[in-house]
């Protein structure tokens, strides 16, 4: 039996239906992005127009860049709760065993779960960013709006949103696959948001100066982690341990 996108799709559809009917998930997905867009919006409308000098332009560009970095917390944090719940939550509900009894492979199950966290995150993050861009275009001062649209800001948002989401999802699922209860998994899952927070904080404190080189290096690291993440998590996914609570050699493919 080969990798089946039909089985991945079955998991994905089920998850999306379940989210739609889960008030807690909807509130979490709605509130967190609002929280993380507030600061960039304040920055957008409180940044004074730059003067004529190139130093002022650079300063404005940096401030816009930093405020946009906060918005990258959306893809880092929003999916972590969903991902941390994905395996251990099903286990606690008693719904994991019926799924594992089907021909589904662990890789298919994990990719389905990951996509179910990834797709809504991407939709929310890009929507919020779109709203931010719209607000900038319509209401911000002209040179502030130019600073938002020019340079690499838009590209960075578009590029890092899926990369950070992927990283957060795989860490969250890995934690979920090894946890014994949902609360512990979700608490640990929030740790997944710490590294990007650290990067943001370091940039905000001018310890790291945002540059194209740093952005590319960070993107490359995330790309590698995302690419191999699902294989690493699949190796940690022990069907027998998940069913019995113990550890042993699984009869698993």
């Amino acid at each position: 039996m080969t990798f089946s996108w039909t089985r991945v799709g079955a998991i994905l559809r089920k998850e999306l239906l379940d989210y739609r009917r889960n008030r807690f998930v909807i509130i979490t997905m709605a509130v967190l992005p609002v929280v993380f867009v507030v600061l960039p919006m304040i920055q957008l409308f409180s940044v004074p127009a730059s003067g004529a000098g190139s130093a002022s332009v650079v300063k404005l560009d940096t401030r816009i860049g930093l405020s946009l970095l906060y918005m990258l917390l959306i893809p880092a944090i929003v999916p972590s709760t969903l991902a941390a719940y994905s395996v251990v939550g099903e286990r606690e509900q008693g719904t994991l065993e019926p799924v594992l009894i089907t021909p589904i492979r662990r890789e298919e199950f994990l990719v389905g779960k990951a996509l179910a966290a990834f797709i809504p995150t991407l939709v929310i993050a890009y929507t919020v960013f779109g709203v931010f861009l719209g607000a900038a275009a319509l209401f911000a001062q002209r040179d502030v709006a130019s600073a938002v649209f020019e340079g690499s800001h838009v590209l960075v948002q578009l590029l890092f949103t899926p990369l950070l989401a992927g990283w957060s999802i795989w860490v969250g699922i890995a934690i979920s696959a090894r946890s014994r209860d949902v609360r512990a998994a979700q608490q640990l899952g929030t740790l997944a948001s710490l590294p990007p927070l650290v990067v943001v904080a370091l940039m905000a404190l001018n310890v790291i100066t945002p540059s194209s080189g740093i952005a590319l290096a960070f993107a490359a690291v995330l790309l590698v982690i995302d690419g191999f993440g699902w294989r690493a998590v699949a190796a940690m996914f022990d069907r027998e341990r998940l069913v019995t609570g113990g550890t042993a050699r699984p009869l698993d493919r």
């Binding site: 079955a10 379940d18 799924v99 594992l100 009894i101 089907t102 492979r105 069907r239 042993a248 050699r249």
Partner: protein
């Protein structure tokens, strides 16, 4: 789905979790179309055996063939495609409707004609009219029926039912029994794990009694014969003056005991001994109330074996 040869062959299968043995040296066969009862007390290893045969757990030693395929890592997905397991807990997605639950699993089994299969499965468990209900709104008995419909979706060669009536009220349990009976009539091979002995006696062609090791396998009648001598239960209005003289010389009567209701006679063949006993009682001027074969229930068989195990552990 049927095949040639047994549906399940288990040979010296053992599962250990570290120092703890879940089950050891278990061997049996289940034929296609058979309802096979797997009995045992809590902690006997029944569920672990089912999970092992369902490829969720790797055996520590021994071998098995499930639905015609050797039990090994490579065959895991293929075996799971051919069988179904209904766990003790239905494990439904409560925020999804009945049909949405089944659609999810139809996708996991990659079923062609998923819609038709879902309709047939729902009809089989008499739930067609509840298809659009949220599973969270269903009673425990109805959830169990949805789980059974889910287990039927892939037309399994072997259907494992793990304590299907656990926690159900008598009415819901009876509905599940009726469903199992109807599946049996359709030729579905059923591996029924239970500790409800009357359930096994009523539904199963053969039973196995497990208490970490397999104690007995056979038809309920065979197990009774193997464990217990045949007896005639003789009831008379007043006790006999000299029962030894009445029963002692009768052919086929191997011994007798006086009980509160009358006499229990150990016999080699109840059908041959009963007329002779009746004649002897009439000859002794006794008022006969009844003469009947004393039947041991499967519960008697089960308790006899489990008591033996308890005694053995004490020693």
């Amino acid at each position: 789905m049927t095949g040639v040869g047994p549906a399940v062959v288990v040979e010296q299968l053992t599962k250990r979790f570290g120092e703890r043995t879940a089950f050891a040296d278990v061997s049996f066969e289940v034929g296609y179309g058979e309802v096979f009862g797997f009995l045992g007390p809590n902690g006997a290893g029944k569920t672990t055996t089912v999970r092992t045969l369902g490829t969720l757990i790797a055996p520590s030693s021994g071998s098995a063939v499930v639905a015609g395929m050797p039990l090994n890592a490579e065959n895991g997905p293929a075996i799971r495609a051919r069988i179904s397991i209904m766990p003790e807990s239905p494990g439904l997605y409560l925020r999804l409707t009945v049909v949405e639950n089944l659609q999810c699993f139809a996708g996991l089994y990659e079923l062609a004609d998923a819609r038709g299969r879902i309709e047939r499965a729902l009809r089989a468990v008499n739930l067609a009219d509840r298809a659009q209900d949220l599973c969270g709104s269903l009673s425990k008995g109805l959830r169990q029926r949805v789980a059974l419909a889910r287990a039927l979706l892939n037309d399994p060669a072997v259907l494992f039912l793990d304590e299907p009536t656990s926690g159900l009220d008598p009415v819901a349990a009876r509905e599940v029994h009726e469903l199992i009976t109807s599946l049996r009539a359709r030729g579905v091979t059923i591996f029924l794990t239970t500790h409800r002995l009357e359930e096994a006696e009523r539904l199963c062609d053969r039973v196995a009694i497990l208490n970490t090791t397999l104690r007995l396998v056979g038809k309920p009648d065979e197990l009774r014969e193997r464990l217990f001598t045949k007896k005639l239960d003789v009831r008379v209005r007043t006790p006999l003056d000299d029962p030894g003289q009445v029963f002692g010389a009768l052919p086929g009567v191997q011994g007798w005991d006086q009980v509160s209701s009358g006499y229990l006679l150990a016999v080699s063949d109840p059908d041959l001994a009963a007329p002779a006993v009746a004649r002897a009682l009439v000859g002794a001027d006794a008022d006969i109330l009844s003469i009947a074969e004393s039947r041991h229930s499967l519960e008697d068989v089960y308790l006899e074996l489990i008591d033996e195990d308890v005694e053995a552990r004490r020693r």
